[in-house]
């Protein structure tokens, strides 16, 4: 996810359609997982990522290379996930979040509980803090890349990250 899509092999620039096909095969799964972590809903996550690809196709002339396309996609996925969350009804927002999918057999019950605790605490944080932590600890982005993806300053990334971690510690430390 942090890597880049392969450069065009033919030496000529991709057109928008090729770009979609190539970047899709390299990044679609990772972007859906990112959106699913933000949204806790795989169906909604896929829609968000698909819409982001359609938007990227429209902006390809401006983006032109796989790296800026990936940065654009991350930004679009974070933005659109935020909008999707905002438009979820109030009841949904306060209902216990569903699991993204059935836990696979190798996940033990304890591990499931631990994961649920952490993810639930993460989603109780303010949206920005949650976004920063997901981009940092799941996608492994640098501060500058996170700032770019969310559209905030690097200083704000730092403060969201430290405040988010402090809240997580406060709510989870005793359950370690």
């Amino acid at each position: 996810m942090n890597g880049t899509a392969d450069a065009p092999v033919t030496g000529r620039a991709w057109d928008a359609d090729e770009a979609v096909t190539q970047i899709y095969s390299a990044q679609y799964g990772a972007l859906v997982r990112l959106a699913a972590l933000l949204l806790r809903d795989v169906g909604a996550a896929e829609e968000v990522v698909q819409d982001s690809f359609v938007a990227m196709h429209g902006s390809w002339r401006r983006l032109r290379d796989p790296d800026s396309a990936l940065a654009y996609l991350r930004q679009a996925v974070v933005n659109r996930s935020r909008s999707a969350l905002r438009h979820r009804s109030v009841e949904q927002r306060h209902a216990p979040a569903p699991m993204p999918d059935q836990a696979s057999a190798e996940h033990g019950a304890l591990e499931t509980l631990e994961r649920e605790d952490v993810i639930r605490a993460l989603h109780r944080l303010p949206r920005r803090q949650c976004e920063v932590l997901v981009l940092r600890y799941y996608v492994d982005l640098s501060e500058a890349q996170i700032a770019d993806a969310i559209g905030i300053s690097r200083g704000a990334v730092k403060s969201h990250a430290s405040r988010g971690m402090a809240s997580l510690r406060a709510s989870l430390e005793h359950t370690a």
Binding site: R33, L37, M99, D101, M165
Partner: protein, 338 residues
């Protein structure tokens, strides 16, 4: 990030294990291509069968998401009968710009495009300004570009949408005196109220960009559209108070980055002209105010300013209902202060 504390390790592990459970459905690329095809007049995916299938999938998705809640006619999943490859062939005007390659002739223009937001009082029109790079197929002016944008581009504001099927093509656009004729490849498959809003969306979009146009004659494959209403005569703008959203935020625009003090501009009408606004950060209100717009059905611009520290915000403009003060006629924009 090298020496992580225990909490960081727990978080990383939880995120990875949660992510590992996510299985994409596997039809993502097809849906994306459907979305892309829907967004442009001319598709160049080589296999018509694929394009048609993708368009059908998208029709289902878009219809269900945007209008499924308030419109139960349930037919939006049906792909328009004419959205096939033969239409493509007949509309492919031989012109230097019919090639979709990035090097073909393009023009950039600022145009006004109307979209529809489903409000409690019914579907209403909202306006966005789009900077639009179009494949120019004739000497079409801003109104033709705007129509193109309306069918090809989604709204920037995620609250807005369009009731038109996602794969509508503009087959013909011509002006004769004060009447523009727009011939489309398909019509809406929505209920009567949404259909009216969609037709007015088109009429408002054309007339907003070309003041010489007063009426739009709407054709679908050369004939008057078959819908819930009679659209056989040229259509004028319906009264603003009937079709427009009561309150629009014009600035900051959706996703804009602005400097403080932030100029709040809008257009609207409210009881006794009082338009309220509120700025939220991470869900918490950080500023609010009132200003004067138009009163009781008269639309007028409104302006205010607010000083905000750098950060991301959501602006809501609304009318406090005369009944209980609850917000009605809401429009929202998210923006960033640098």
């Amino acid at each position: 990030m090298s020496d992580e504390d225990q909490m960081e390790t727990r978080l990383r592990r939880a995120l990875n294990s949660e992510a590992a459970m996510v299985q994409p459905a596997g039809d993502g690329l097809q849906k994306i291509r459907g979305g892309i095809d829907a967004g442009r007049r001319r598709s160049w995916w080589r296999t018509p069968v694929v394009a048609l299938a993708a368009a059908a999938v998208l029709g289902l998705a878009a219809g269900g998401v945007f209008f499924g809640l308030r419109d139960n006619s349930g037919t939006s999943a049906v792909p328009p009968a004419t959205g096939d490859s033969s239409t493509d062939a007949t509309t492919d005007t031989p012109s230097p710009s019919s090639s979709p390659s990035p090097s073909s002739t393009a023009a950039t223009d600022d145009v006004y495009v109307y979209y529809v937001q489903g409000n409690p009082e019914g579907p209403k029109l909202y306006r966005e300004q789009h900077s639009f790079t179009a494949q120019v197929t004739g000497d079409g002016g801003p109104a033709e570009l705007a129509v193109d944008a309306m069918f090809r581009q989604g709204a920037t504001d995620p609250d807005y949408g369009s009731p038109w099927p996602p794969d509508v093509k503009v087959l013909d656009y011509r002006q004769d005196a004060d009447t523009v004729t727009v011939d489309l490849s398909a019509f809406m498959k929505n209920g009567g109220a949404v259909e009216k809003a969609g037709v007015q969306q088109l009429v408002y979009t054309v007339t907003a960009n070309d003041p010489s146009v007063k009426k739009v004659r709407l054709l679908v494959n050369g004939k008057a559209p078959q819908g819930h209403h009679d659209w056989s005569s040229p259509i004028r703008r319906a009264p603003m108070a009937d079709v427009q959203g009561a309150i629009w935020i014009l600035a900051p625009s959706q996703n804009a980055t602005v400097s403080s003090p932030v100029a709040i501009d809008g257009y609207g009408t409210a009881f006794e002209a009082t338009i309220s606004w509120e700025v939220r950060k991470d869900g918490a209100a950080v500023a609010q105010g009132h200003t004067q717009g138009g009163a009781n059905g008269e639309f007028a611009e409104f302006h205010d300013t607010v000083a905000l520290p750098a950060g991301d915000y959501e602006l809501t403009a609304f009318e406090a209902s005369a009944k209980d003060g609850s917000p009605i006629h809401i429009d929202t924009k998210t923006f960033t202060v640098n």
